[in-house]
Structures are given as structure tokens and as C-alpha cells.
């Protein structure tokens, strides 16, 4: 089948529709507004509902209602809007509702700017909202991967009855790349006996996260914890790039990983044994990717568009066995490949300790 040129933000929408999503509630915010524009046109074509909400707080609660009513539903936003959604995300996790939340990360904190960033990693993977919960976080690095991960996002959300976040950035949202869309299939949404759709002669269903008796809330939290442990054991995803014989391993996600692939190639041309681990799930963090490298590499260099967030997860995975260095740009600035190569050269062979 012929490839089609698609913009990242639109690919998110098309990927969602092809995954069987028929409901979108959201509020405009740069740099993801092309996504709601696309879905405003596309969803009515497939008998779905696109509704512009009055705020992000309203949007995430509309998602809660739609998910509890049994629908495949999503929303999207960027940093400040995702911040507004945090209470709602905590409720979704507590009530075990499946849904997909897209964050096209921009410069922060506060109003920041509209340029790309990766500075919402903590917010995405460390709760963001209140309470003991986790959100599965997927980080695409190409427009094709966006299409593929949108399907995975909805499937994982249903499989585990959990919110799933897809974390991109403004570059990914704006870039245009050829994608293989594949045949449109009639997606069978898994049945939801727990959805509150009206009793219709059956048992009462309740969508709720309140457990006023502490013993009951403890049991509920332990149940969630068992779910998260299962997800962590089964759903870690990552890509390895030229790790063979690597002495220094770069770790990066999303757009920065693409830049780092160029860095790896340039270093290898100059005879430096450099490779890359690209996490695809930011939560559960792909700790399994690091185990085979222990004792075989010298050090790690984590490259991010923030001032050091994912690097903490790398340090946890490496657990003190090797030095873990960091290089970052922030405020919407991109790491430049030549600068990262310089950083690699400084550290290669044990320098910079």
C-alpha cells in the first residue's frame, strides 16, 4: 500500500480513529491544536463525537464520564493543560478507567513557551496527580511510530483498565513524514461489563474512587499495585541502536533519540564505540534494557530536552554500577548533534568523572 505524508499531530488523530476511538474531548493549546482540528473533521465521518470543552479540567472529566460509560475515548493537551488534568487523571486511575491522554510537551515551567521540550517527564511518570498510582507512558519518535503506538495505547488502556499517556513534543507534532497506514480494520472494542451504562435489568454498576474505610482503601491500593507490577513486568518497551560492543551508551527518548542516532553514527565513523537505548515506554521504564550491558560498558550519557529527569530512572536502572552522565538543553532549545558528539568525546574512555 502506498505511503501517505502525514503531520505528527494529525497522525495522532488518525491513529486514534483507526484504533477504534470515537470520542475526543479537549481544549485548544499550542503545539497540539492541529490534533483537535483534525478530529473535529474526522470523528463525525466515522460517527464519532468531537467536543471542544471549556477547559482542560472539563475535558479530563468528560473523558472520565465517557470512559465510565464504556467508550474508547481520548484527550490531548500540552504542559499547562496537562497540569490542569492531574486531578482528573488521579480519579481515572483510582476508578480504573481506560483512556488515552496525549501530551505534546512544550517549554515550562509556568507559561514557558510553545517550543518543544521533554520537561514533563517527571509529571508523566511520577504521578503528577495525587495518590499512589501509575500511568502507562508511551514516547513515539516518528510519525509512523505515532500511528502504531496509538493503537497500542488504546489496547493497553483496555487490557489494564488504566489511563495511558502518549508523550510527544512540538517537533514530533509538526513534522511531516511518510507513513504506512495499513488497511482500516473494524476494531472490536473489548467488552466492558463494569461500565455504568444503566442497569437495563442487570446489577448496579458504580464508577468511583472513594473508599472511605481505610481497610478497604488499602486493599484497593494493593490491587492497583499488583496491576502496576504486572504491567512493569510485561510491558517494558525500548529500541536498541548499534549497541554491539558499545563502550558509551546514549539514552534518549522521542525527538532527542533521533538526534542521538545521528550522534551514534558520527561517533562510530570516528571509531568510537557508541550506541543508543531509546525507551519507548517511559513508564514502565525499560530497566530490562540495561541489565545485559552491566559490566560490558564504561558509562551512560543521558540526553534530554530538560535539566535532568529521565536520567534519574537511568541511574535507578544502573544502580551505581556505572557512571551516568547527563547532557540537556531546555526552554525549547534542541540539543545539537555536534554538541552531543563533543560531550561524548569528553566522556569517552572515562573522562569527565
Amino acid at each position: 500500500m502506498a505511503k501517505v505524508l502525514m503531520k505528527g499531530n494529525e497522525a495522532i488523530g488518525e491513529g486514534a480513529v483507526r484504533a477504534g476511538c470515537r470520542y475526543f474531548f479537549g481544549y485548544p493549546i499550542t503545539p497540539q491544536s492541529e490534533l483537535p482540528h483534525y478530529l473535529a473533521k474526522r470523528l463525525p465521518e466515522v460517527g464519532g463525537v468531537y467536543l471542544q470543552s471549556e477547559s482542560e479540567t472539563a475535558a479530563i472529566n468528560m473523558v472520565y464520564g465517557a470512559a465510565g460509560a464504556g467508550a474508547r475515548v481520548m484527550t490531548s493537551s500540552s504542559g499547562p493543560g496537562i497540569s490542569l488534568m492531574q486531578e482528573g487523571i488521579s480519579y481515572l486511575a483510582g476508578a480504573e478507567l481506560p483512556c488515552v491522554i496525549v501530551n505534546m510537551i512544550r517549554g515550562g515551567p509556568g507559561l514557558g513557551n510553545i517550543a518543544p521540550a521533554q520537561s514533563d517527564y517527571f509529571q508523566a511518570t511520577r504521578g503528577g496527580g495525587h495518590g499512589d498510582y501509575r500511568v502507562i507512558v508511551l514516547a513515539p519518535a516518528s510519525v509512523q511510530e505515532i500511528i502504531d503506538l496509538m493503537r497500542l495505547a488504546f489496547d493497553l488502556a483496555d487490557r489494564y483498565r488504566n489511563p495511558v499517556m502518549v508523550a510527544g513534543d512540538g517537533i514530533l507534532g509538526q513534522m511531516m513524514e511518510p507513513v504506512e497506514l495499513g488497511e482500516e480494520e473494524d476494531v472490536q472494542i473489548p467488552p466492558r461489563p463494569w461500565a455504568a451504562t444503566g442497569r437495563m435489568g442487570g446489577e448496579k454498576k458504580l464508577i468511583n474512587s472513594l473508599y472511605i474505610v481505610p481497610e478497604e482503601l488499602e486493599q484497593h491500593n494493593l490491587k492497583l499495585a499488583r496491576k502496576y507490577a504486572l504491567i512493569a513486568s510485561k510491558e517494558q518497551r525500548w529500541e536498541e541502536y548499534r549497541l554491539d560492543g558499545a563502550r558509551l551508551v546514549l539514552v534518549a527518548f522521542g525527538t532527542v533519540a533521533r538526534i542521538c542516532k545521528a550522534v551514534v553514527d558520527r561517533c562510530r565513523e570516528e571509531g568510537l564505540a557508541v550506541g543508543l537505548i531509546r525507551p519507548i515506554t517511559l513508564w514502565p521504564y525499560p530497566q530490562k534494557a540495561f541489565e545485559p550491558l552491566m559490566g560490558k560498558v564504561d558509562s551512560f550519557l543521558v540526553v534530554e530536552m530538560n535539566l535532568g529527569q529521565m536520567v534519574e530512572d537511568v541511574r535507578l536502572a544502573v544502580n551505581g554500577r556505572h557512571p551516568v552522565h547527563f547532557y540537556g538543553r531546555c526552554g525549547g532549545m534542541l540539543p545539537v548533534a555536534a554538541d552531543v558528539v563533543q560531550e561524548v568525546k569528553k566522556l569517552y574512555g572515562g573522562g569527565g568523572n
Binding site: Y23, F25, V49, L51, S53, E54, S55, T57, A58, A59, N61, M62, V63, Y64, G65, A66, A67, G68, A69, G70, A71, V73, E87, G88, Y91, A95, A196, T197, G198, R199, M200, G201, K204, K205, L206, I207, N208, S209, L210
Partner: protein, 248 residues
């Protein structure tokens, strides 16, 4: 002999946690009676708020959602857009609807969302310990207005029914009271009209029910109903503020 007054099926036969004389009990029953009478129990979905009535999700025996504070209209929007043939209602207090939830209620009303809102106005925040509500009257003493609500500090109480009736998306807005049997009967009629408006697909419907909070007002149940009639009704006039021609 025939039973002329019995418990409605739509309310679960369990004791409630509400205080003695709390009018939540009366209003829960009225909503349940209407659901029974209209024979919509099997396709009704309710959304409970945060506040004393958070456990409404236990008391109403239909499918229920518990929503975050103020967001019930957004949750109800999500439900109704996915399941347009179901009957959806929210049950909200004055903090939930008139403070933190003003954005959601105004926009749900403006969009003409086809669900029904039962708005309990007791001029106070009860569950959290008797603080001032947006609907607290001038001069009224609460735990956060110990000297009486002062317009220079806290401004004026909000009149929700008047405000929302201005929006084109609202099909039915009524303010009622439950302070005596005659008004309880009228309140039931208004609640029934509100659900009928939803069933006819005419748009957004809301019934504001002036209610009593004996515990936080520091009055006996009987005194509280008297206080409601003498103080709240003059500021919050009863009546149907918006009514479509099609419904009674």
C-alpha cells in the same frame, strides 16, 4: 387498605448518614419517586458530587458515577454524549456547583446538554465543617465568616437559577423549596418536569432546591425550615425561570 405512600424502588432501602432533619433525604426521595413514576430506572445514570451527598452513589439504586468536585456536569456530558438514549442526572451542592464548578455548569447549560441537574442550595458548606458558600446570605455567620458575611470582603451571594436561565441552551430552570409539605409537592412537580424535558430532548434542565442544614446553621430541624422560609426565599425567589412551551 391500599398503600398510598411507600418507599420508592429507585432508592436503596438502607439508612443514610445524613443528619436528623437534613433535607437531602427528602430530595433524594423526590428524585427517586420521579424516576419510578416515569419508569426510567433501568436506563438512568446518576452522577454524585463531593459534599455531604457524595454517598448518593450508594443511595440511588441506578447505575452511578462519583465525580470530582464541581465536575459532575462535565462527567454527565461525557456519559450523555456516549449514551444519548439514557437518562442522566447530576446531584450537586452549592460548593460543587456554584463555586468550583461554575465553569462546568455554565458551559453544560450553554451547550444545552441533555441531562438534568438537581442543585441543593443550603447556603453553606456542610461536609467540610460549615464554611461560607457562594450562596451564603449577607450577614449569615459561618465558620469562615464568624462575624457574618460582609459584602466588602466576600461580595454577594450568587443566584444560579437567574444566571443560567439567561443562556439559550437551558430548556428548564426552576427554583423550589422543601420547607413544608405544600412546597415539597411543588418541588416534586418541578423535578418531574425537569426529567420530562430531558426525555423530550429539549435541552438542559436544572432544579435549584432551597434546602436546610440544621447542623451547620446551629438550629433544630424545625427551626431550620423556618429560617429557610424567612431568610432564603426572599433572596432566592421561587418559581420557574425557564420553561419550554412543550412541557406543562
Amino acid at each position: 387498605m391500599k398503600k398510598v405512600f411507600t418507599r420508592p424502588r429507585s432508592l436503596k432501602d438502607i439508612p443514610t448518614h445524613y443528619c436528623p432533619g437534613c433535607t437531602h433525604g427528602i430530595v433524594h426521595r423526590l428524585v427517586a419517586e420521579v424516576i419510578d413514576e416515569l419508569e426510567i430506572f433501568d436506563r438512568t445514570i446518576g452522577v454524585a458530587p463531593v459534599g455531604c451527598s457524595v454517598f448518593a452513589y450508594n443511595y440511588f439504586d441506578c447505575d452511578m458515577f462519583q465525580a470530582s468536585h464541581g465536575r459532575a456536569p462535565a462527567v454527565a456530558t461525557g456519559i450523555k454524549r456516549v449514551l444519548p438514549d439514557r437518562v442522566v442526572f447530576t446531584y450537586q451542592g452549592d460548593g460543587d456547583l456554584a463555586a468550583i464548578g461554575t465553569g462546568e455548569i455554565v458551559h453544560a447549560a450553554a451547550r444545552g446538554e441533555k441531562f438534568t441537574v438537581i442543585f441543593i442550595n443550603n447556603a453553606i458548606y456542610a461536609m467540610t465543617g460549615g464554611q461560607m458558600a457562594p450562596t451564603t446570605l449577607l450577614g449569615q455567620k459561618t465558620t469562615t465568616t464568624p462575624y457574618g458575611r460582609d459584602k466588602d470582603i466576600n461580595g454577594y451571594p450568587i443566584k444560579i437559577s437567574e444566571m443560567l436561565s439567561v443562556l439559550d441552551g437551558t430548556a428548564y430552570v426552576a427554583r423550589v423549596s422543601v420547607h413544608d409539605p405544600a412546597h415539597v409537592i411543588k418541588a416534586r412537580k418541578a423535578i418531574k418536569r425537569a426529567f420530562e424535558v430531558q426525555l423530550a430532548g429539549l435541552g438542559f434542565s436544572l432544579v435549584e432546591v432551597l434546602s436546610a442544614c440544621p447542623t451547620n446553621w446551629g438550629l433544630s430541624p424545625a427551626e431550620a425550615l423556618k429560617w429557610l422560609a424567612e431568610n432564603m426565599i426572599p433572596y432566592y425567589p421561587l418559581g420557574e425561570y425557564k420553561k419550554p412551551a412543550e412541557v406543562g
